[in-house]
Assembly symmetry: C2
Homo-oligomer: 333 residues x 2
Amino acid sequence: MSTVSRVLNGSPDSRVTEGVRRRILAAADELDYSPNLYARGLALGRGLHITVCTWSAVTHLSAQRAHEIHTAAVATDRQVIAIDGAALSSPYELLRLLTSQLPAACVFVSGGWRPDTIEPVVTTLHERGVYCLVVDSSWPLDPTTPCDTIRADRTQGAALGVSHLIDRGHRHIALVSLLRITGRLEGYEEALSAHGISERYIAPLDPDIPYRDDVALTECARQQTCQLIEESPQLTGLFCSSDVLAVAAMGAVRDLGLRVPDDVAIVGFDNDTFGAFLPIPLTTIEHPLDEFREATTKLLAGRLDGEDGPWRRERVDYRLIKRATTAIPEAHN
Amino acid sequence: MSTVSRVLNGSPDSRVTEGVRRRILAAADELDYSPNLYARGLALGRGLHITVCTWSAVTHLSAQRAHEIHTAAVATDRQVIAIDGAALSSPYELLRLLTSQLPAACVFVSGGWRPDTIEPVVTTLHERGVYCLVVDSSWPLDPTTPCDTIRADRTQGAALGVSHLIDRGHRHIALVSLLRITGRLEGYEEALSAHGISERYIAPLDPDIPYRDDVALTECARQQTCQLIEESPQLTGLFCSSDVLAVAAMGAVRDLGLRVPDDVAIVGFDNDTFGAFLPIPLTTIEHPLDEFREATTKLLAGRLDGEDGPWRRERVDYRLIKRATTAIPEAHN
DNA sequence: TTGAAAGCGATACCAC
DNA sequence: GTGGTATCGCTTTCAA
């Protein structure tokens, strides 16, 4: 019955007698009524839910972001469909899934998505009336892509870490990183150049290490760091592309009989939980999770509420967390 | 058109001429046809998707499990709807969301769900024809609950860790744990009793520490461990309910000028990534993720395929990962 | 202000 | 084997 629909959806110009209204709500409550999602979707020609496409749902960061969106969704009484990119058989699959769902909004989360896979999907979805939001992509999207984006500039993050080492007086600074990680090398270069430092020391972790094989990666980092320091004993600073790598690098420094931070200072990346609890708490770069959350929630809520305006390209910044691995050595000069 | 439907769904007794079949498939391909989820759901009276209800989507374990289900889903060409328990406003909300979706299967993932919230939901869903699977609940469910379950027995996990310390010759062993975590205390008791050890040393981490405040928790663990060892210097073994706590406990041991593992041996829990990379790699208890995955995938696939039979109560076991924090001290006796 | 009726797009029954 | 047709539950338009 149409009146019922009007009441239950709080239709815009709800011209319903208060008495009828109350009776309907009471009945719905009594019968434990819950609307059939499919009928509604069919009538509306689209879903009311938000779809979250994570590149890989297992990483902590993705999970964290997905959670933020769930929270935003509940706030607007919407369901969430999750698509786990890592489980997809092909990028084409993504578009197929999305068009057969046709959500109200689609959020692409996290770094792995490449612009060339996302952009066409976003374009198609936008044509079909789906609002798209891309959160934390590693690479900037084409400015004409019809969606909002929220990004932290990876180069800024890396530069922040390296600059901190320079501030602490270090001049011979190495980069310990998978070079395939976006922005690390660029940030390293940028910070050193800005301070007129020309020496470069790079531990290019084996590019053949399979994705997510943390054990192999760490072992490799340890070896390469050892070798790097032996070859260039003037090194006093290490910037590592993750906290796990930083722990490995600390191991290497210990192996060589050197001390952290007195002989070698170390900066990690990610602000992983364990960093604060290490014997020598780790200085690291923090992802601005709260800013991501805030921007995500605000954009989603606004756009789903019909808010118009040009596509936003929001930027949030990484933050430095100073801890003991870059402490200035006690004055025992 | 019915024939089209028959072809596209590979209907059971697909009595369709090969020529027609091919033409339909070709047309579908050409038109880039993707079936409307809502129409299908409406006609079928239910969804074809799998709903995953995580207690809290942000923890690594939940995310990992959710990923397994995504993978299983893709394998059977199903979509996944995720419900993040942590984002729900009330437990009642859960049932409302689920009945308005009516998935083909519903998987409850991870420890936080209490039997008394899950059981009625499962029962209702089952009445409506939804297959339910409960993975890794902290507490065993009522045996009559109409669903399959896969559990690792938390008591077994804790007992495993404590027994290992006993095997290593320790007799004065402390438990460092939030007591609200299921099974830790029981496993501790069980293992000690089984070896006729009567001494108990417990650091009952402040029960008022807010959920997921790792920093406060760790600080508290460090202090309490310190105090415990000072009061009972005969202590030589610590069993901690998580790897993060174990790191804090190691800090306490260091603070007291004692050595790990020579003076005090430590066992953690979770096999977190960082454990292997600590200066003294951490002995810990590993969640049997692969067994969970295997059992989950098999049950889901089978049941969705119409497999009948009594409800299963599968059990998987935690595993001990031996590392340096419980190494037998070099023979310098 | 309310209700009747026409879809939305797929499925499944039932004649052909 | 194939295709017409009622049907699923809800929204929306249009008359009453």
